[in-house]
């Protein structure tokens, strides 16, 4: 295994010779966008703000709902329809009316392409919304004519703040609204994710840790595993499954805020650190939507939404994020206190991860039905390049959503799920596996008559390198214990999670 701390330089870009062509195309595109109209009316050349959904004006709300209403009334196989746009995320294939197979998507997860792919999807979705009724002359299914949708943008749902409605922003709780979905959960009475955790990840994690493994060595980044996945699981029945998530209109505002966080990471780091940035982003979208700046047609294969590096500049894509007041994350200088690396793990009452979770509803599990696995380790004599705890579900276990909490503690101290002081001190990290529906998501044609033997939920790995290395000086050769708590998250558990725990060290440093 390679070092988390060093960006995988060899994975940044495989097609350097395209760089000059892309720059030229980008310049041409930006210049022409001020002059050209597309077939559906004048495309706004000035970037538009994506706002908090609770701060939309009455006119902006009406325009957004009008655009959605038109989208929902379009035929399923119209690429500008709500259903097709959901298919872009949800489905790897679909049979058209003429019997041929189309390939709408699906989304990318567990790889460096995760954030760029969803940004591309939102770009196309927003463009389609704007082009539903730019002049405000169409009467929608609700009997409303207009307003014009030319300046519609996707409003974000800041799920780090208390909701304006009972559980979600008010616009999503209106049962008469096109944005309503009745199978959402009523569990989010508090922000689930802590602002401090998000801020720490955005400011201080490198791309490998934040965004995930390169395309040719895929793996979940911390943001996806610790933030995105728990949120999906907590919102509703559709959002809980990979192949249903985008049917819920809240999906787009949820991911809009995620895109803002991606934007924040880019502004605090360098886009050059993003790996596989010349990789194409799969998706079949309407041809009338302007391609992103710098788009180059692929040399092979099917429909694409462009490449990762077409999507670094939001203003070139026609939007920016309006962040005001409490929508802003804690400032970087406030978060610096959490980066001090002179701490010995377990010496303070609260571990770093415990402190970062404060302020959010997400907590390590206290569920008495949780699976607990324990493995003894010996603290090495020297620091290691990598220390990872890996939970491997038993083969054949059906895909499920579960939470994994990893603790590191001295031998002789036993994990107790009700002992808050123990958990606060020795919690290394807590993540969620979002796996429900993933089998159908990527292997749609499950009526192929193949006995795949069920599905194996993915392994979950948690890095504990810094924590382990902090113990070397004082506790070398001592016996410690890694305890992992695995908790089912589905409302009606289909199968009890079973599996094994392995802890691996890589290369003690000399």
């Amino acid at each position: 295994m390679k070092d988390f701390k060093k960006p995988a330089a060899q994975f940044r870009k495989s097609g350097e010779n395209y760089k000059g062509i892309k720059a030229l195309l980008c310049l041409v595109f930006v210049s022409c966008s001020f002059l050209m109209n597309n077939a559906y009316g004048q495309h706004s050349a000035k970037p538009l703000p994506r706002k908090n959904i609770d701060s939309l004006t009455s006119l902006e709300k009406a325009a957004y709902l009008h655009a959605w209403s038109i989208l929902k009334s379009r035929d399923t196989f119209d690429m500008g329809s709500y259903l097709w746009q959901a298919y872009v995320h949800n489905k790897p294939s679909i049979i058209l009316r003429d019997g041929t197979k189309a390939v709408p998507g699906p989304c990318e997860h567990g790889t460096t392409l995760f954030l760029p792919w969803h940004r591309a999807e939102l770009y196309y979705f927003e463009q389609i919304l704007q082009q539903t009724d730019p002049e405000g002359k169409i009467t929608d299914a609700n009997g409303k004519t207009g307003p014009g949708t030319r300046n519609v943008t996707i409003p974000y749902w800041n799920w780090l703040r208390y909701p304006s409605g009972k559980t979600f922003p008010k616009m999503f709780e209106d049962k008469s609204s096109v944005l309503y979905r009745e199978n959402r959960f009523a569990l989010l009475d508090t922000p689930l994710i802590s602002q401090k955790l998000i801020a720490y990840q955005v400011y201080f994690l490198n791309w490998l840790r934040f965004g995930g493994g390169p395309a040719e060595s895929p793996g979940f980044g911390d943001f996806e595993a610790q933030v995105h996945n728990p949120m999906h699981n907590a919102i509703g029945e559709d959002m809980q499954e990979q192949d249903l998530a985008a049917y819920d209109p809240i999906f787009f505002s949820f991911h809009c805020f995620i895109d803002h966080l991606y934007d924040l990471w880019l502004s605090n780091h360098s886009s050059a650190d993003v790996t596989s940035q010349d990789y194409y982003l799969r998706g079949t979208q309407p041809s009338y939507v302007p391609k992103p700046p710098g788009f180059i047609a692929p040399r092979k294969g099917g429909q694409v939404m462009g490449q990762t590096d077409n999507y670094f500049d939001t203003k070139a894509l026609g939007y920016y994020y309006e962040i005001r007041g409490k929508d802003a994350l804690p400032p970087k200088d406030i978060m610096l206190q959490y980066t001090k690396n002179d701490r010995q793990f377990g010496a303070e009452e609260k571990s770093l991860h415990t402190k970062l979770l404060e302020g959010g509803g997400y907590k390590p599990s206290s569920n008495p039905r949780a699976l607990i696995l324990v493995k003894g380790i010996t603290i090495p004599g020297d620091s290691v390049e990598q220390a990872v705890a890996v939970f491997a579900p038993d083969a054949g276990l059906d895909t499920t959503n579960y939470q994994v909490d990893v603790y590191l503690h001295p031998k002789g101290t036993n994990l107790s799920l009700t002992n808050t002081k123990f958990k606060d001190r020795y919690l290394v990290r807590s993540i969620v596996n979002w796996g429900k529906g993933s089998q159908r998501h990527h292997h749609q044609d499950m009526n192929m008559g193949m006995d795949m033997g069920g599905h194996t939920a993915p392994k979950v790995s948690v890095a504990m390198t810094d924590e382990l290395n902090s113990l070397v000086d004082i506790h070398k050769k001592s016996l410690w214990v890694v305890s992992v708590v695995v908790t089912e998250l589905e409302k009606i558990p289909q199968q009890k999670v079973k599996g094994t725990l392995d802890v691996t060290f890589l290369n003690e440093k000399k």
Binding site: G301, G302, H442, H443
Partner: protein
């Protein structure tokens, strides 16, 4: 010497049809999975290995393939050996 035709293809054969439904993205575009094709498997060997093991080289987890049951460790080790030995195509053994 491990070869694609004689050693790797038999391992992947049960999954060729299913994986043809998955679009693989690259710097060239997107294309359907083709586990029965030597060139395809050679090009995407890193990604395939990570999915077989369920963990990438950086210790990050990723959904394991095949989706039914993971391959036995010895078959994954054989695929890794094929990579280490230069990913030879080989010729069919008569």
């Amino acid at each position: 010497m491990v070869t694609f035709i004689n050693d790797i293809l038999p391992i992947f054969s049960p999954y060729i049809r299913c994986m043809s439904n998955v679009q693989f993205a690259s710097a060239d575009g997107v294309e359907p999975g083709s586990l029965g094709d030597y060139d395809f498997v050679k090009r995407f060997h890193g990604r395939i290995l990570a999915r077989l093991k369920g963990v990438n080289e950086f210790g990050q987890s990723v959904p394991v393939m095949p989706p039914g049951r993971p391959l036995p460790p010895e078959k994954i080790a054989l695929f890794e050996q094929w990579i280490t030995e230069g990913m030879q195509e080989g010729v069919p053994v008569v």
